[in-house]
Symmetry: C2
């Protein structure tokens, strides 16, 4: 893979935010010794380097009643070396869609000889293991994990830790192009290969997100993303005193983290999860509040934003969720202890303008769950490890 | 890459036509010694094997006034080891679109350090070289290459021979997904790696070809392809005496050949080019007519059909060309000396049904140009080799 070198890096306390880097070439060929000058503006990430990172990476596919053909396509795009972790909240009554997903995954793993884990979000054992570990933040009154993609993501992080992986990446199950999925994972691997800190995050910026109207219109910016980015950038600008537009990936669903970073961040519910990750990093390591983790603060937290070559074409789920998405995302920024007056005002004006709020109201507070590291992982592992084979999609032979 | 083993092979004289093979995994990870039983139904083609074939392959992108963003995207998906050959018939007057294409390609090659050739179909030197080599089949009255994608393809084959490549693959410039382009090339390489004959061809079957209507509808079969395939299969069935539906790729624009095969086939103009390739192979090596090339007949000619993981999403050029496409394609089959009564009748009934013909008419005869090998290649090379640097997109340093 060939990718732009990070040309500009914004610093916020011990957080290093790299400017968007574009992918130039999906497949940059065999390993060669390059003359030094060729690695100035553009970096070639060799195939072996990418595969070594993929080997240490779990790719999480959160899914809920998604079309099986799309689901299978997404899986087929994930590079072989990655461990696939499917966290499904699909229906089990009437039609057991979860079972269809598991069958599909098993058949796929059988023929491709690869490893995958699949767990239902409402799995009883999972709920019990979390309760024993003291991680009640994720649980509902029935003792099972609450609904929501964000809760599924945290479950997947724990599964990745259980599988002794070093990195975890998230990819939505509704992507039409296996080739785009493949590129996301390579972007993750390339980002981690450039990181100088073990506490790192890679967020994907889609080159285009085609909107299907009468034809195809290649829209560069999602509507919600644009506003979220503006508000996140305002938060950084007003805290550092230097105006910036460094963040382009505030709502990036496709993103990855080193588990060392993932386990020390708190997570928000619902659509707030992706922007909250940034907010949590800024709170923990921006230097405004006390550093939340000494070792990470020393190494620094590194954020990469990588723009793909492939456009992003996914299931059109309609527009109804966009207001909710915007509101909860901005709520995460608004209620941060480091959010000052200017940014709060900006957020209010964006929401008022779109009639999502009245002037007397405030955007909702995010519901946060504790960083995974805060729970008793030994207990969680103990319960789960014993039953791990039952979550595996590849039969042992 | 992981791909189904050819499960069924149809024989037609010394032609071996393999049944459709599906891609299972885009990226099958590191090289490993597999237990023998794992390679029965599914083959893993190792990364090194693929790259070794890519190194010997030229990827041709025929283009005419295509959007530059699409053009650049397609290029970015071609694996690095391949030589890119752009044959452009874009306008040069008023707006010099050819120059824009060359600039785009040069900029891209500069940053990715890769080789590419670009030639305009109306290039004067090219016309002169062809005339000197005695290849007037391709030339118009002005001494330049005639218009048409098929003519551009033959030019590209000659350029690939000039660049001493062993394989040549064709990819249209109007593809929206670089990741799909990348997969096509890997399919080509995988097919050639499975071939037992140096005279081989790989044809791509798209998993789906989404049609943009009010939403996305994933259509498995193009309308024209379905009819063309039916008629090609009728041609085989009636000549061998065994009914078959082996051909699913009669109109495959995305296809590749070993140059040893490419140089001994005649080529049709216009939309007939892809079906004619099959017809030419059946005529030359099906055993109905005398074998057209002894060595190839001895080795056998091998055809692979590979179904991609990615859907095919390309510029919608409207429906007007479909009638023409169907008619000229079927014309190539109809006028073949091995086309018997049954197949002729089938073709006529398909065309009558769609009001493309009256019962008194016949579909048009294809306009054929001689196999490249029949011309004086030494003369062609002599003229062109001297000016080769002027067609190169990577400045020498």
């Amino acid at each position: 893979m060939r990718i732009e070198s990070p040309r500009y890096t914004e610093r916020f306390g011990s957080v290093r935010i790299n400017d968007v880097q574009k992918v130039l070439e999906l497949d940059s060929g065999k390993a060669k010794d390059l003359p030094l000058h060729e690695n100035i503006a553009v970096q070639k990430i060799e195939e072996d380097v990418i595969k070594n990172f993929e080997e240490k990476m779990a790719i999480v596919i959160p899914t809920m009643d998604e079309k099986l053909k799309l689901f299978e396509g997404v899986i087929s795009g994930v590079p072989h070396e990655c461990l696939i972790i499917v966290v499904s909240n699909s229906q089990r009554k009437k039609v057991d869609r979860f079972r269809m997903e598991r069958d599909t995954l098993q058949q796929y793993c059988h023929f491709t000889r690869r490893q995958a884990l699949i767990v239902h979000q409402k799995d009883e054992l999972l709920g019990r293991a979390l309760a024993e570990a003291g991680y009640t933040d994720l649980l509902g009154e029935d003792g099972k994990v609450r609904n929501g993609k964000a809760e599924g993501m945290v479950v997947a992080m724990l599964m990745a830790m259980l599988a002794r992986k070093d990195y975890v990446g998230f990819i939505d199950a509704d992507n039409y192009f296996p080739g785009a999925v493949w590129e996301y994972v390579r972007c993750f691997a390339s980002g981690f290969s450039m990181a100088r800190s073990p506490y790192s995050m890679v967020r994907i910026l889609w080159r285009y997100k085609p909107k299907i109207t009468s034809g195809l219109y290649f829209k560069k910016w999602g509507r919600v993303s644009e506003i979220t980015n503006k508000c996140v950038n305002s938060l950084i600008s007003n805290n550092t005193g230097f105006e910036t537009d460094i963040i382009s990936t505030g709502n990036a669903g496709e993103h990855a983290m080193s588990l060392r970073l993932a386990e020390i961040l708190p997570y928000a519910s619902g659509y707030a999860v992706e922007p909250q990750e940034l907010v949590s990093i800024f709170e923990g390591f921006g230097g405004i509040l006390p550093m939340s983790h000494q070792t990470a603060a020393k190494h620094g937290v590194e954020i990469f934003q990588i723009e793909t070559r492939n456009p992003h074409l996914h299931e059109d789920k309609g527009d109804e969720h966009l207001g909710d998405m915007l509101m909860t995302g901005l709520g995460a920024i608004y209620h941060s202890p480091i959010c000052e007056g200017e940014t709060r005002q900006l957020i209010m004006s964006e929401l008022l303008q779109r009639n999502l709020l009245t002037p007397e109201e405030e955007p909702p507070k995010p519901r946060l769950s504790a960083p995974p590291k805060k729970i008793d992982l030994t207990k969680f592992f103990k319960v789960m490890e014993e039953h791990l084979p039952s979550y595996s999609a590849l039969e042992s032979e």
